[in-house]
Symmetry: C2
């Protein structure tokens, strides 16, 4: 399994296996020795309705490992870390079962996501710490200049 570092430091895109099984497939998620795994704090699902954009949110401490087992979700990562040579860059990834990758998102970058599937869209986030509002920053969608219509 080869992982692809993005040009945003700490962001990793890892292709993953879907094992064909009679009666229903098995979809890999995350193993404790996979690239991007830094510990287990919590696993939770976020659903996003078709056409809905949830943006922007930044975790100050949490590393996220995200997979999309149902539907199709577009993720946009915005990097404004001053310490990073790629400051002010965006990266987009569209995840679905047809494009089955795991997205590792480091702390201190902004993320937004949009539901693209025709029905419901579900992402699983396996994070290294439990969710806490204390380490979350939020901006409204217009506070980061990104054209979601592209």
């Amino acid at each position: 399994m080869t992982s692809y570092p993005s040009n945003i430091e700490g962001m990793i895109i890892t292709p993953m296996e879907i094992v064909s099984v009679t009666g229903g497939d098995v979809l890999h998620g995350l193993k404790l020795d996979d690239p991007g795994y830094v510990g287990f704090g919590e696993a939770y699902f976020s659903t996003v309705n078709t056409g809905v954009i949830k943006a922007w949110k930044r975790h100050r401490k949490m590393t996220m490992n995200i997979v999309v087992p149902y539907g199709c979700v577009r993720f946009v990562i915005y990097n404004d870390r001053e310490t990073d040579p790629t400051q002010h860059s965006f990266q987009q990834v569209v995840l679905s079962r047809d494009n089955y990758f795991r997205l590792t998102v480091p702390p201190m970058v902004w993320m937004g996501f949009e539901g693209l599937g025709v029905n419901e869209n579900i992402l699983l986030n396996i994070s290294d710490i439990k969710h806490s509002p204390d380490e979350v920053d939020r901006l409204t969608i217009n506070e980061i200049d990104f054209d979601w219509k592209v």
Copy 2:
């Protein structure tokens, strides 16, 4: 959050929260201090088509924590551990978003499951060790006397 131990030693049924969010809900999964959590080894999805029964399988070492974020899955647990006062008992649990519980399954019990939803059915298993065929035993569906039509 109150958890309900079943009459099978080590099996726990924990009610879980679905947080209503505009544009798409958040479904809790597992936290590192939740009842039933014993460590992180791997997270993977199993899908099961409607009407399909996958049975029977026993993990000798793995503790499973299972949630059903999409569809509806019936689980049957069979206990044949000689050390257990409830040897030869069965327990059934039906999980879905309408009946949103986490099922903790200890090692050394047999499990089968059936897809009950009208579309696809998806379960997430967060296990304390990585999946390995070395610690898995299998029986065909008829080798344990259970009436799946009930």
